[in-house]
């Protein structure tokens, strides 16, 4: 059980560290892609654990618990947003935010290409 959680913690710290280092190298404050690096590390880490024969139901539970807590955590995040400030920002904020969202939605099919190009997709 602990192995899964330890692997997760180690991957998050490694990713964060890489993200912070990359940000410093670029001369900005903060973190560039830390969570992204951590996810790639976890994908590789779980592959190594499987290869070494350490994969077990308990290992998967150690990871799965946190993956399963994901939606409640997102609900907590939503419940602690400053929604009042977002609405008080006035028309400029609503317009600029809204336009950015709608154009990005419209651009998804343009950049994502045909569904059949994806690995493992069912096709149409």
């Amino acid at each position: 059980m602990m192995l899964g959680t330890v692997l997760l913690a180690a991957c998050l710290l490694c990713g964060r560290c890489l993200g912070e280092s990359l940000a410093r190298a670029l001369g900005i404050d903060g973190d560039v892609g830390g969570v992204g690096f951590a996810m790639v590390a976890l994908m590789l880490g779980t592959a190594v654990v499987r290869r070494c024969g350490l994969d077990s139901a308990a290992f998967r539970a150690g990871l799965g618990y946190w993956a399963g807590m994901y939606i409640p955590i997102v609900v907590a995040m939503a419940a602690t947003q400053n929604v009042v400030a977002a609405l008080r920002g006035g028309w400029v904020a609503v317009l600029a935010g809204g336009v950015a969202v709608f154009v990005a939605f419209a651009a998804v099919p343009l950049l994502a290409g045909r569904p059949t190009e994806s690995v493992g997709s069912m096709g149409e």
Partner: protein, 259 residues
Amino acid sequence: MAHLIDGLAATLGKESIVTGLLFLGAVMAFAGFVSHRWTGGRLHASAIAIALGLMAALGAGLVTSGSRGMADVAGFGGLAILGGATLRDFAIVATASSSRFEELIVAGPRGMLALLCGVCGAFALGGMVAYGCGYRDPIDLATIGGGAATYIVGPVTGAALGAGSEVIALAVATGLVKSILVMLLTPTVARLIGLNRPAAAIVFGGLMGTTSGVVAGLAATDAKLVPYGALTSAFYTGLGCLLGPSLIIAVLRALLAHQ
């Protein structure tokens, strides 16, 4: 009886993380009930739960006039920890354990293109709206444009360039509007824009960028897509903070100087 009520109030206040977990459980259960009974499962329970969370944050913000939504309500401070960056990142990374490395490699170049288009597009659109609303200073345009990227890029860009505090507040509000719209609208438009496979989620994360909006929107659409969207959106804020006070402001100054 009075002792019991006082004791309960004191306990809930001291154990605010546990209280927060109970609150989340209640919201999830209610959302599940609404999804199943009232919409026949058409509207995903997580989409309803996230919308309920946002409504709770709005109500709490109006009552307490604080900036942390439900976390400002006595006894619910633990929600700020449960929904804070640490646990959020921990859980996002955990969702990657079920995703496939091959998907990532296939969509890699498209994801990078989406990131560049997403960041530059947000600055351009936000800047144009601000210009249309009467802002002419390149610093103000870059700051509000940054807000149209994410609510972090806006203030970071503004602070680096020395923008006024009301423009920075406006940029934060713009980013919050974006994040909330993405959370609420993604499940509805997902079918329309073909957001049903990992490659599209990678592109979506790169174009939208707002990690909170992307992951909540994808969670409400199909939880399997979350890690792919989160992966590209993780780079977005960093890229925006990098380009805003450097390339973007230079382009804006050049554009406005020619008028």
